[in-house]
Subunit: 314 residues, 2 copies
Amino acid sequence: MISIGIDIGGTSIKGAGITKEGKVLEVFSLPVDKQDNQETTINKLIDAVNNYIKEQGFKKEEILGIGLGVPGVMDTKAGVITYSNNLQWYELPIVEMMEKGTGLKVKITNDANAAALGEGRYGAGKKYKNIIMVTLGTGVGGGIIIDGKLFEGNLGKGAELGHTVVVIDGEQCSCGRKGCLEAYASATALIRDTKRAMEQHKESKCWEIAEKLGKVDARVAFEADRLGDPVGHQLVENYVKYLGEGLLNYFNIFRPEAVILSGGIANEGEYLLSRLRKYFEERNYGFQGTPKVELLVSELGYDSGKIGAGALFF
Amino acid sequence: MISIGIDIGGTSIKGAGITKEGKVLEVFSLPVDKQDNQETTINKLIDAVNNYIKEQGFKKEEILGIGLGVPGVMDTKAGVITYSNNLQWYELPIVEMMEKGTGLKVKITNDANAAALGEGRYGAGKKYKNIIMVTLGTGVGGGIIIDGKLFEGNLGKGAELGHTVVVIDGEQCSCGRKGCLEAYASATALIRDTKRAMEQHKESKCWEIAEKLGKVDARVAFEADRLGDPVGHQLVENYVKYLGEGLLNYFNIFRPEAVILSGGIANEGEYLLSRLRKYFEERNYGFQGTPKVELLVSELGYDSGKIGAGALFF
């Protein structure tokens, strides 16, 4: 028995048969045409799925169902995408449409949740049953696995781990509030802080590094820190502090066994992780007898979303 | 069929038979003697429970089990109290001891969780299945109900809703971190802020109010605000802002149907609630299609802990 796991992105949709062992079979993909209305996009997806099943020679009886990871706000029980900013979808009854079009059972979840489920069951988190996954990209996304199952909050509309305020009246966040974790721990935030520091410190090595890269991105501060630049060092120290405090908050709410970091900034790997671990060790006081939280980086990369969407049926 | 719900406090233990409808039968209580070691306390509790069952004429077959709400950190699955600061209990295998001593099945949870479960199932939250309860007392406690069930985090060691930082580098918290919600939204914090404001404003009506009450407590700021005092007004505005931001964080993580406030400050009732609702309406942006969160105060008062502990079996 397999499932079909589909990762819907703003520019393309990728899917594949997923085995219970988390193996990704042949992958199919289709572009998202911004000119199409939402119904047309879903009809194209239905055709792509039906063709894929035919081409692969899968029997319908061996497919448990189709899992979809979608960027946006949704009612997972009703099977409706309430709103997707990336896709410009509104009140889209995606589950009903896809079930009619494919004759298979369909489940949906948020894309960050799908990635967390994939990574939690088959990737860096496979030894653990209670995991928080935090994606450090353009924004800060989150996924929560409790007792091996996805925890999405009421109606699948929770787990917005990037949108909790850690500095009241702090930096403006994309969501409208001020001081969210996303406004401090996203790549966007680190780039903002790097640019600010560079303006104040013309002598910083950040300038040469940015010139080599052709832009100021989230790697500049880390690279400058590695080269012993005091401005880079301060930027990384600051980043670790804000991300560290945000993660400690989630320790106290969920008490996970492991936290998995993904997204661009997680590519800094042990350089970031070792600094975060030190931060936690010095500050995980107050709650005696609480177990240690392992800090890890993701292993599955871009496959985690497809695998996790498929895992909605395992 | 009934259960026995027991609320363990720092100075006394109160218990009662609880019906499936949430009715509290005859109550028994015993003092906690600080001279007793933890085993002696549990043995006294076992005697009290056995006597109570005998006196009430309950048959063992009609009792589903004994639920305990305990202040402290515990492993709910193992049935062990890891640490209770109030009771000075360490690594206490309370479930095993009580099961041996009573011949009944025993379950434990944190006292704040028990209160949330009671209030959620039988009190202010009974119309809802997804609730956050926040206790605004000496500290800030929390309980989370998802799909009608208690959500305690891994090993029952999560749900520490008062101990999430909302102001990095902010006010010192009792847990050791700085800037926790508890350090802004507890009665202790409001009293601290009231005293500070009074020192700066000798003309404030807070002074007379405190004199009448014989102390500066958490009511002073609210009473002064009601009397049109600008210092009281600023204190209440500030309190609403910090509590409001903390609650909005929990909206984004859990997306509850309702938030129930309890504890001393919740006695301000609609005066506080209407101000918080206004704060939410102006700031619940960013996530279109998210349902409204009802804001309520607790209805069961001190019974909520006993009822909730009993409800661990329903």
